[in-house]
């Protein structure tokens, strides 16, 4: 469910972009046939619910790339530690679950509201009486509207003026011919999924208005410009006193009456060039915003270092490239010589260590002289001494170092240990490891 919510969020963003463009188009092309704008709204709706899109070279959709990171595993001698790259990953998961739940509640609320409104209207419409084929009269409805998606019927208030009837019925029939009784509820469903996005709310309101205007235009085109005045009168007479956003009833007077009356009275049959131009612009718009841009996947990063890796666009349906294998290396160390094996207090022990280290890190090797006491404690002789590279390279070479036995060192058998200086750099997995070199050294009386 969280993934669904995340994809809804993403589609909400891209859909909003398209919606803004449609709003811009509405402002710029006011004289164009509104049916074209309604088609543009359909494009925005598709982007709000469809996670996939074809790609084309004409796309104007913005895209983002996101880097992927995965947890890195670090193997140390004796233990394995997994280091998550995003340290607060637990907080993130909690937030996501909470927001997803909230979103689900919102969607459910919208659907419950719609269902309640539908049931209430159906109950009222039981008292309707048939007038014509598909046209009914009812006492208790305030405005004319269409109800029903599969078998839509036109409902008229019984108190409506006889003279307005002809125009109202023409308007509602135009709605049916345009299948608006299907598009409007679908649009509301899209709104329900994106209830958190105010731009989508605005888009829905504008979409409903444009749908009504497109319908008005169609009626006037059929009836002729002589009908402008009586049609506008019918509009005013049937205007609803309150404005509510409802999914199912396509009310005649539901949307902004003033603007519609103005549009109706100013209506002129649009010139052919305008209609053609508007249709072309709309097709172009669809190509630009229904498709996604073609993107090349970047080269996967080399295995060293292990952090930032391949980037892909989120909209490409191809599988994400497998993350590069964690960095691996090999280590081989061997004590070549310890001179002398028996050393006197105050003297120096010289050590040579042969190293093969595939990373070629130059953190270096250190040697330490120590013994294990009776109670299991490690007692070191002085400090660890860093060796220096004497021959070859850090990847394959010989290190040299010397320890001087300080005065006061207890006599007896010690162990000399050569080990890598701990490195706090990019963690990696060592695939071949030979233990630090160790050898016995005896300290004797000087």
């Amino acid at each position: 469910m969280s993934t669904v919510f995340l994809s809804i969020l993403e589609m909400s963003f891209y859909g909003s972009v398209v919606a803004l463009v449609v709003m811009l188009m509405r402002l710029l092309f006011r004289r164009a046939p509104k049916a074209v704008i309604v088609a543009a709204w359909a494009v925005a709706a598709v982007r709000l619910v469809c996670p996939f899109a074809l790609t084309s070279a004409f796309s104007l959709m913005p895209t983002f790339t996101d880097a992927q990171q995965e947890a890195l595993t670090l193997t140390l001698p004796g233990e394995t530690v997994t280091v998550p790259v995003t340290p607060s990953v637990d907080h993130g998961a909690l937030w996501l679950t909470g927001l997803t739940a909230l979103w689900c509640v919102g969607v459910a609320a919208m659907l419950v509201y719609t269902l309640a409104a539908y049931c209430r209207t159906r109950k009222t419409l039981r008292e309707a009486v048939s007038v014509n084929d598909g046209v009914y009269e009812c006492d208790r409805i305030p405005t004319p509207f269409i109800f029903g998606m599969l078998r839509p019927r036109i409902y008229l208030p019984s108190s409506m003026d006889e003279r307005d009837r002809e125009y109202v019925i023409a308007h509602e029939r135009a709605h049916l011919a345009r299948f608006d009784h299907v598009w409007k509820p679908l649009g509301f469903a899209v709104l329900a999924l994106h209830w958190f996005n105010p731009l989508v709310w605005l888009s829905y309101v504008l979409f409903c208005r444009d749908m009504e205007t497109a319908c008005d235009e169609r009626v006037l085109a059929t009836l002729g410009t002589d009908s402008k005045k009586p049609y506008a009168d019918a509009l005013i007479n049937c205007a609803a006193p309150t404005r509510r956003i409802a999914a199912c009833p396509l009310a005649f007077g539901e949307t902004d009456v003033k603007a519609r009356v103005r549009t109706v009275l100013r209506y002129r049959k649009p010139a052919l060039w305008l209609t053609t131009a508007a249709t072309l612009v709309c097709l172009l718009f669809m190509m630009c915003f229904l498709t996604d841009p073609k993107v090349q996947a970047l080269e996967p990063a080399p295995t060293i270092p292990a952090e930032s890796t391949t980037a892909t666009t989120t909209t490409q349906p191809q599988a994400v490239p497998t993350p590069p294998a964690p960095m691996t290396y090999t280590q081989k160390m061997a004590i070549e010589s310890i001179t002398p094996r028996t050393v006197r207090v105050g003297e120096t022990v010289t050590v040579r260590v042969a190293v093969e280290e595939s990373r070629g890190i130059e953190s270096g090797i250190e040697i330490l002289l120590y013994r294990e006491s009776e109670d299991g404690e490690f007692v070191a002789v002085g400090e660890a001494v860093t060796m220096t590279l004497a021959e070859g390279t850090a990847a394959n070479g010989i290190y040299e170092g010397a320890i001087t036995i300080p005065a006061g060192t207890a006599l007896g058998d010690y162990r000399l240990r050569a080990s890598y200086i701990p490195v706090s750099e990019k963690p990696a997995i060592c695939t071949a490891y030979t233990p630090e070199g160790e050898a016995a050294v005896t300290v004797v009386q000087s």
Partner: protein, 122 residues
């Protein structure tokens, strides 16, 4: 008194009762189905509403009216006059005849009605 107001379709339903009363609620439902294509439940719902308004009464399955149709019409006319012409009948007549003049028959009828009224008032 305002509560008596009925919608156009409710009036058709009320007419069924006025024309055929007293009648059983079942017969009323049957006639409504014939005339208005209403389901039984719808008939009962509307009947209950009109009974609550005080127009009709359903006495153990038999429906009768509390107010005759004539009384109802007179009430409606009074309401219309009050709402539109501030209760002034002359004003209404003036407005009515402004559109088209009264026919000779209508004048004769009105004269007769006024005469009868004056007689009964005395």
């Amino acid at each position: 008194m305002k509560q008596y107001q009925m919608g156009a379709i409710e009036s058709r339903f009320a007419d069924i009762i006025w024309e055929h009363e007293p009648l059983s609620s079942a017969e009323l439902a049957r006639r409504s189905e014939e005339l208005l294509a209403w389901k039984k439940t719808t008939s009962y719902t509307v009947l209950k509403r009109l009974c609550d308004k005080g127009l009709f009464v359903n006495n153990r399955g038999t429906v009768t009216s509390l107010i005759s149709k004539a009384q109802y019409m007179s009430y409606q006319s009074e309401q219309f006059l009050n709402d539109t012409f501030e209760g002034s009948l002359p004003a209404f007549l003036a407005a009515f005849t402004a559109g088209k003049p009264l026919t000779a028959e209508e004048v004769a009828c009105l004269r007769r009605m006024v005469a009868e009224y004056e007689e009964s008032a005395q």
